[in-house]
Symmetry: D2
Amino acid sequence: MKHRFQPTHYYNTLGGHEPVDHIRDGDTLITTTVDARGYDAAGNQVAQRGNPQTGPFYVEGAAPGDTLAVQIERITPSREHGWNSTVAAAHVVDPGYVKELPEGILADWCVDVGRGVATLVEPVTKIGVFSVPIKPMLGCFGVAPKGGQALGTGTSAENGGNMDYRGFCVGATAYFPVFAEGALFYLGDGHAQQGDGEILGSSIEISMDVQVTLRVLKGKQINWPRGEDAEWIFACGNARPLDQALQHATTEMLRWLQEDYGLDARGAHILLGHTVRYDIGNVFDPAYTVVCKVPKSVLPR
Amino acid sequence: MKHRFQPTHYYNTLGGHEPVDHIRDGDTLITTTVDARGYDAAGNQVAQRGNPQTGPFYVEGAAPGDTLAVQIERITPSREHGWNSTVAAAHVVDPGYVKELPEGILADWCVDVGRGVATLVEPVTKIGVFSVPIKPMLGCFGVAPKGGQALGTGTSAENGGNMDYRGFCVGATAYFPVFAEGALFYLGDGHAQQGDGEILGSSIEISMDVQVTLRVLKGKQINWPRGEDAEWIFACGNARPLDQALQHATTEMLRWLQEDYGLDARGAHILLGHTVRYDIGNVFDPAYTVVCKVPKSVLPR
Amino acid sequence: MKHRFQPTHYYNTLGGHEPVDHIRDGDTLITTTVDARGYDAAGNQVAQRGNPQTGPFYVEGAAPGDTLAVQIERITPSREHGWNSTVAAAHVVDPGYVKELPEGILADWCVDVGRGVATLVEPVTKIGVFSVPIKPMLGCFGVAPKGGQALGTGTSAENGGNMDYRGFCVGATAYFPVFAEGALFYLGDGHAQQGDGEILGSSIEISMDVQVTLRVLKGKQINWPRGEDAEWIFACGNARPLDQALQHATTEMLRWLQEDYGLDARGAHILLGHTVRYDIGNVFDPAYTVVCKVPKSVLPR
Amino acid sequence: MKHRFQPTHYYNTLGGHEPVDHIRDGDTLITTTVDARGYDAAGNQVAQRGNPQTGPFYVEGAAPGDTLAVQIERITPSREHGWNSTVAAAHVVDPGYVKELPEGILADWCVDVGRGVATLVEPVTKIGVFSVPIKPMLGCFGVAPKGGQALGTGTSAENGGNMDYRGFCVGATAYFPVFAEGALFYLGDGHAQQGDGEILGSSIEISMDVQVTLRVLKGKQINWPRGEDAEWIFACGNARPLDQALQHATTEMLRWLQEDYGLDARGAHILLGHTVRYDIGNVFDPAYTVVCKVPKSVLPR
């Protein structure tokens, strides 16, 4: 069933709020998100900056120990104007190179959904006219965190959050471990496009029209956000430093291969070792995101 | 000019040795490498384990401050038998998961160069028959390191070494900063195939027939190994932890974009931020390797 | 004025709760804390495990941008029985050594406040009779975090929390940046004694009688918890990995030396470089704590 | 027997050189070192900058698998003039704070060995007259590294090297694992005084008169440099990041407690957990040094 929701207020933490609406297991949620600074489709600031979230949505039947599946069916920029910062974060370059970073300004982008292209407006740089194909994604989404915490929308954890992973786009399904009754699903921080690592600290930030279908996988327990698309299954580790994020993602994938694909430990290790691809979701946020991927083509049937 | 060299002994450090041969700038070197444990094409152990290297080759005209370009034209397994370890390294999984790792054994692979496939032999695992397409690469190669050091072939640094990056395959050109007269080029540690990160600690290890063309870029100074192939330019950072390796790679790419592609700082940052892909070369060796890539299609002409 | 408070319930996050009581600026709070698993002075479990906190206390006049000073006047074990875990965390030893770690059991300690000694009960180890001098401290205390977050009592951040630093004992004054109206002060997780790093994951965990005097430093803005005792001033950095925690602590100290001690930048760097001592508060919790200390004897008057 | 050696040349790697002299097991070596930039007692530059080393000394009887004990009996500045850099390294402060670091200049120190004090000369800073007590130490010393490597004197590894730990002063005995015949002992980089971490990148750098007694512990195998003084035993871990250095040091200490002090695993963990102190030797060099210390007073007899 389709379930439309028009947000009137937004939150800057995951956790700590009463649900704004209830969704039935299997329902499709159609809603909107504002950009990372709280500007909506009309260009008005309606929420506080820092990845304000639509939600939380209480998903009927979801309980701690379950998994919430979020099938991403639509993420479409709802206006033409996007923006982003223009300088790599000081912590992604050599410490001795920080003094050579240019001054940080915001750049404007014109996002043409029809043509599928974003173009830098008045770049004031020798780069000249610069366009990139858009591939809209959700930078920050997830469920209420464990232990009754309320975590800022700048960071991520076992419950998802600000993972800024470009793989969370249309065609992907995300899986979140449920830590609270009703899961309490939040979403926001849409990007029209993003490189690996979100190294500029923002991407092409824009408001979105979003459609997702939510399903509860009863009794299915996972430890970290997972996902899949037509080609890959993937597990996300969210932590600092990258080494630890990678450990979480790799461990989660090893578990997955053994639990769901009938592999023994040695088989899982061999399969992973020879086919794994790692993506760096973000290397900007307080918790970094490393994604451990395995192509579906090599998975046992 | 083609230059054939048949090694009679091998070294387990980069640096610290007299050259085994001299090569002219622009010459093509045709030689062989033994596998990571020192076994040659005939299956005989002829060198000490630990990525024994063919070389070093003195490249005429190369001097500190130059760059050595290594165009990879051929890396072909020179026998059918490959081997690899079968368990992910303890440091790539959660510390609390280490006790669940299976026992480490070596697995044998049958490498069929004609069909382009490697098949696991007697897997003793539920994975059953398991084949992967081969994509031969050089795990460890580079030049003498800076400061008169001699660095073990298990690690990597500014001079290259054991980067275990699957992008160093046929069709790629590697660039190394020269720190010693003649550059002193070493190569070895061929892999028939490898996943990201070399998380098992070895890949499909095998002896190789190799052909590379060596060119000296006089007065071209770089800080870290670089490379390019048909689709990408890429810079390697070699360090622990991953965060630092990524800093080196990102900084090197920002320099590259400004020095060779006519971009100002802001343009380089914008271009990189929106198009960068990071690969994890290895997350196993003493120094990890992170690769910062930019598609050639977005580079200014 | 002395202000006695007997807790009836406890919280497992910092942030997210209404105050249990109001305290005037300058008042002395006399209260009790339960141990890390929620056991009180009588040995009854009255709270949920995971460093349950007494509080929060609303301190009159404290507002975002201020600093809360917490002078620690008394931390006395309120019973004889302490406990702790007995095995170093998997992440503080070499990954390859994890399989050699013994099984984790809890050990009991007899804490003799009069003699100032804790003695291991029935050690079941060759260590035999083993006693250590006690030096009671607060493992987890602080104020509500920024951005309306509610952070679990297992971790720490700019607002304090589970820093597990043995320097937070009687005679020390802690300083916390205020992020919420009333500061909302929490305290708990008393340790009778602790080594550096809390590497076992717990120390001698015990319930406490606590007395602290709370003062609001209006308009005094700090970024990280600070402290001082008779001999040192110190700044805490809470983050992973240790490198980042050390960066936060060092930066905070450099600021402190310039803002409050009249030093120019170069003078602050020279003084710090030659006299700094670093303590590792904890290397166990989700965020580690590194403490940057300067002896009061070298500070400009 | 006393063995005097006056160096005529110096090396900038550990490993890769023929011994300059042979020493008998148990002999006392009396020699001199130049400062980190190669200046000797007379103020003349006689060696290349970067911690040039006196040695290597071949110690009779030392073979791989043994341990070399180096009892430090004298480290005395051999001139009055010391120098050091004045700005904390970019990587020990927050990345966002790097742009606020002052310009790096060298400062001169007047080192008064008789009074035991070093005084900053012409400070050009508000710090005014600034003196610190001297405590001379060896910043870089050790033996040839494993695998026939030659490692630069800027870094450290299992064989010691540039650990920059202030605990290596008179009264301490250092222990190094032997990796080459004769151990090949090097020493240099004397500091008149140093804070934790050598965060300025240099300390009060000065030439030294040194006396050490060298003993071979046949068949005693260790993994990392160890040391002891009147009060402590300590183990050094040399690696990046700090987390890994700490893992090495902690693991080495756990082994030590079990191998030499008759403790079972659980006893070693309990003793360590409650009494450990960690020192940060350096957080500046390519490999950081973390020291894991246990007071001798708690060791089983």
